[in-house]
């Protein structure tokens, strides 16, 4: 087992009932559920052991429906309310049947995932607005994953790290084998059923460029560098039907100084609502105070992506400095707006004019960051409709931001059993999908915090069960 985990000497040896590709939440839920149903399971993870479970490592919570408050959730969150939220954030771009099915199954997920060893806690400091809807992992996503791996290994699931799948042998909707790169060797592994849980293609800049054009060069990837969409592409080539728009993804505005990959949660910035956001021409481009931040943070990635050079600057003053969650990098500061502009490489006169124009438009009001307050601008385009306070108390601060891509939505089409559908409309015989790789079935666009893990857990559990049952036939 140890050797199997570490190196290529004694690779996995088939035949397996279920082959799971990926090593995150979706993959592990599938592996555990298939194994509990008696299947012999192999998990192939492209990353080394430390980086196992790509984006799941970075998560903190998941969103599940529940009819009553619990020890960790402050109130009920019904299936209908969950569905309404999903409808709103996606603008209706969701498969209603699948979405309702997922939401229904999410209820039992709160029990099932705990039975697999995952522990929850009340919402984290600074995230009170999610206390009713989202269950937070004690110790975060990596802790959650560690528990899932321990459980899976206890059940006899085999896990191979540093094992990227580079080819799939699929014949007319029937999976036969995968080719894995282990060290310098290519190994063919056969199995009776496949669960594809290898994430989206967010770390594949070339693929992102196909949809976005050259601007994707300036995107930062918040999570794993291993989710390159290779499995998705192989499935597409093998005739699996896709759903979704390749430019749709979860994208937020993160600190421009973040590393290209894997900077995770700590580069996020929650201060847009407290200041103004300008592009590198010192122009504002969107209402920073349109709605409370948890409802708006996920639109700012696309907004910044639409600006010249895909960069923007959040500008605020000393009064706002401690009103939001701290972030990794300190803000850039200046005694005057002009000095700040100099440090940012912006035109000092223009930035001063923009700030002065904004200040002049600010109306008197009672500032309250907990509600949609009455602090707004008049006669300004675009307006700032809440939390508009003059930027006038030195020192002045700025954060440079760029689009940070969380994960992509383009997906393999699936049905209620998580079974893939072929482009000609027939169901695949023995191929299932879970997690980011099929997120687009539920998420046509938009995002509701914590739903990524719901998609992975619910469809992972289903996919594992169905794959095990399929393998028995």
């Amino acid at each position: 087992m140890a050797a199997r985990e570490n190196g290529a000497e004694s690779g996995p040896r088939g035949p397996y009932d279920v082959l799971v590709i990926g090593g995150g939440n979706a993959a592990l839920c599938a592996a555990i559920s298939a194994s509990r149903d008696g299947a012999r399971v192999l998990v192939l993870e492209a990353a080394p052991r430390f980086y196992r479970g790509g984006n799941t490592r970075h998560t903190r919570n998941m969103r599940c429906a529940h009819d009553t408050a619990t020890e960790i959730l402050t109130g009920p969150y019904t299936e209908d309310e969950f569905f309404d939220d999903l409808l709103r954030v996606t603008g209706g771009q969701t498969d209603e049947e699948l979405a309702r099915h997922m939401i229904h199954e999410s209820k039992d997920m709160l029990n099932w995932i705990v039975e697999q060893g995952v522990r929850f806690q009340p919402s984290l400091g600074g995230t009170l607005s999610l206390g009713r809807t989202n269950s937070f992992f004690l110790g975060g996503g990596r802790s959650m994953l560690n528990e899932l791996y321990r459980t899976a290994e206890g059940l006899g699931v085999e896990v191979a790290y540093d094992s990227e799948v580079v080819a799939l042998d699929i014949d007319d909707g029937t999976f036969r084998a995968a080719t894995v790169r282990r060290g310098d060797a290519l190994v063919r592994i056969e199995a009776r059923a496949l669960v594809a849980a290898a994430g989206g293609f967010e770390a594949n800049i070339d693929w992102l460029k196909e949809g976005w054009g050259e601007v994707a060069e300036n995107f930062l990837i918040r999570g794993t560098p291993y989710n390159r969409g290779t499995v998705l592409k192989m499935l597409m080539a093998a005739g699996v039907e896709t759903i979704g728009d390749p430019t749709q993804c979860h994208a937020v505005a993160i600190d421009a100084r973040a590393p290209k990959f894997d900077g995770g949660i700590i580069t996020r910035l929650d201060c847009v609502v407290f200041g103004i956001v300008v592009n590198n021409r010192c122009e504002r481009f969107y209402d920073e105070g349109e709605d409370i931040w948890p409802k708006r943070y996920a639109i700012w990635g696309r907004l910044v992506a639409a600006q010249p050079d895909q960069i923007a600057y959040i500008i605020f003053d000393a009064r706002s400095l401690e009103l939001f969650m701290p972030s990794l990098f300190p803000p850039i500061s200046g005694a005057s707006i002009a000095e700040l502009a100099g440090k940012l490489g912006l035109d000092a006169e223009k930035l001063t004019a923009t700030v002065e124009g904004f200040n002049a438009a600010v109306q008197p009001g009672t500032f309250d960051d907990k509600t949609l307050d009455d602090c707004r601008t008049v006669g300004l385009s675009p307006p700032k409709t809440h939390w508009a306070r003059r930027i006038e108390t030195a020192p002045f601060y700025a954060y440079p931001v760029r689009p940070g891509i969380t994960f992509t939505y383009l997906a393999t089409r699936i049905d209620r059993e998580a079974r893939m559908r072929m482009a000609d409309g027939r169901p695949a015989r023995n191929m299932f999908a879970a997690g980011e790789i099929m997120a687009g079935n539920v998420l046509g666009r938009g995002y509701a915090a914590g739903i990524g893990m719901t998609i992975g857990s619910v469809f992972g559990r289903i996919a594992g069960r169905e794959a095990a049952s399929n393998a028995r036939q």
Binding site: F50, R57, H58, R60, R119, Q121, L124, G125, G126, F136, F137, L138, G139, G140, G141, R142, S143, N146, R150, P259, D262, G264, I265, I266, T267, R268, E322, M325, P326, S327, L328, F329, P330
Partner: protein, 377 residues
């Protein structure tokens, strides 16, 4: 990636500041122990804050394995080790008198030398004072030990060194308390004190948020808590045995050695067994601990204290077993030498961790209560 340009007394504190800035932007670990909630009450970290957080950390290791940014990630987040180093630095920084601070530098060696000197000193003194037949004679009656060393001399010497240790440790604690910037009143506020007694008594924060320590790998277990309980409660039982014996002596006029069914011997034996199992278990755990979590430079200090506790018990129990033989004189000298060295080195070794951590827990209890009031307001 220097998040903060504040000036810190040491590189370790600068690194601790960097890590706390990373952690405070993440907060995923807040349910694991007291360190992270205490961190969340702050936005910037002065040296005193970091010394406080370092001493609040019990070193369970869970946050290392739960962290998405621990090495080899480029953010290189290793909170348990960084805080362990900062913690040990703080013991040295607050040592009293200052002249003895260097004892922390090669602590294993220092403690071993002092212990050897203690033992040799007692043997030589016994030999110088007594004839061969007293030293190697068999003494059976009450007061047998005092045939070798008069009770008053023993009480004076050990009372003296104990008092010295308490004063030195107290001065260190005072310096620590001043450094972290908490008012003196907090240390005598009943509620935080009671909370801290509870938290320390149960080692509440040595459990990785409920599953146990991650010491040897990411597989948690509760071994270290068990062995620490053996050690701490063993130590307390031995201390109780000494107190009871002192009362016997002065109030009842009954002299040691006491019969094996008598309270001081029962307490001392039970405690002694704990002090054998506990330190041995902790030592084994320390040696098996993942190297990346360990403050290698201070391994000597940790080992020295565990070995001293173990030897105190071993020599005490051996004395009990052979007190009616001709070896008693020598065994007594060895035991007294070890105990003397243990007391003398208390302010200059791992012993102080208990006090600083307890003080940090008192402050934490106070902060949490205050924070709760603020949140409710």
């Amino acid at each position: 990636m220097l998040a903060n340009e504040r000036i810190h007394a040491t590189d370790t504190l600068a690194e601790a500041d960097r890590l706390m800035t990373v952690c405070n932007s993440c907060r995923y670990c807040e349910g694991l122990c007291a360190v992270f909630p205490a961190m969340e009450m702050r936005r910037s970290f002065a040296d005193g804050d970091l010394n406080y957080l370092a001493n609040l950390c019990h070193g369970c290791g869970a946050c290392y394995h739960d962290c998405q940014f621990s090495p080899p990630h480029e953010f290189d987040v290793n909170v348990p080790r960084t805080l362990a180093v900062a913690r040990a630095d703080s013991y040295r920084a607050f040592a009293w008198p200052r002249a003895f601070a260097p004892l922390f530098d090669r602590n294993g060696l220092a403690v071993s030398l002092i212990a050897a000197l203690g033992v040799a000193g007692f043997i030589l003194a016994f030999a110088a004072w007594h004839d061969r037949d007293v030293l190697f004679g068999t003494h059976l009656d009450a007061g047998a030990f005092y045939a070798l060393m008069p009770h008053n001399a023993m009480a004076l010497l050990f009372g003296g060194v104990f008092l010295y240790a308490m004063v030195a440790v107290g001065m260190g604690l005072r310096a620590f308390w001043n450094d972290i910037g908490e008012p003196a009143a907090t240390l005598v506020a009943p509620k935080p004190l009671w909370q801290a007694i509870n938290d320390a008594g149960r080692l509440r924060y040595l459990d990785g948020g409920g599953v146990g320590c991650m010491n040897e790998s990411d597989k948690p277990d509760d071994n270290r808590r068990f062995y620490h309980h053996c050690t701490f409660y063993g130590f307390m039982l031995c201390f109780a045995a000494t107190c009871v014996a002192t009362l016997y002596h002065y109030l009842l006029g009954r002299e040691a050695p006491y019969p094996i069914y008598d309270l001081p011997v029962l307490l001392g034996t039970a405690g002694g067994v704990g002090l054998l199992i506990g330190p041995a278990g902790l030592l084994a755990a320390k040696l098996r601990r993942e190297r990346i979590l360990v403050d290698e430079a201070r391994l000597g200090m940790d080992v020295a204290f565990l070995v001293m506790l173990f030897l105190t018990s071993l020599t005490g129990l051996t004395l009990l077993a052979f007190r009616e033989s001709a070896a008693m004189g020598l065994l007594l000298a060895v035991h007294l030498g070890v105990v003397f060295a243990l007391f003398f080195t208390m302010p200059y070794g791992k012993f102080v961790h208990g006090l600083y951590r307890f003080a940090a827990l008192v402050r934490y209890a106070r902060e949490m209560a205050r924070h709760g009031d603020d949140a409710a307001a």
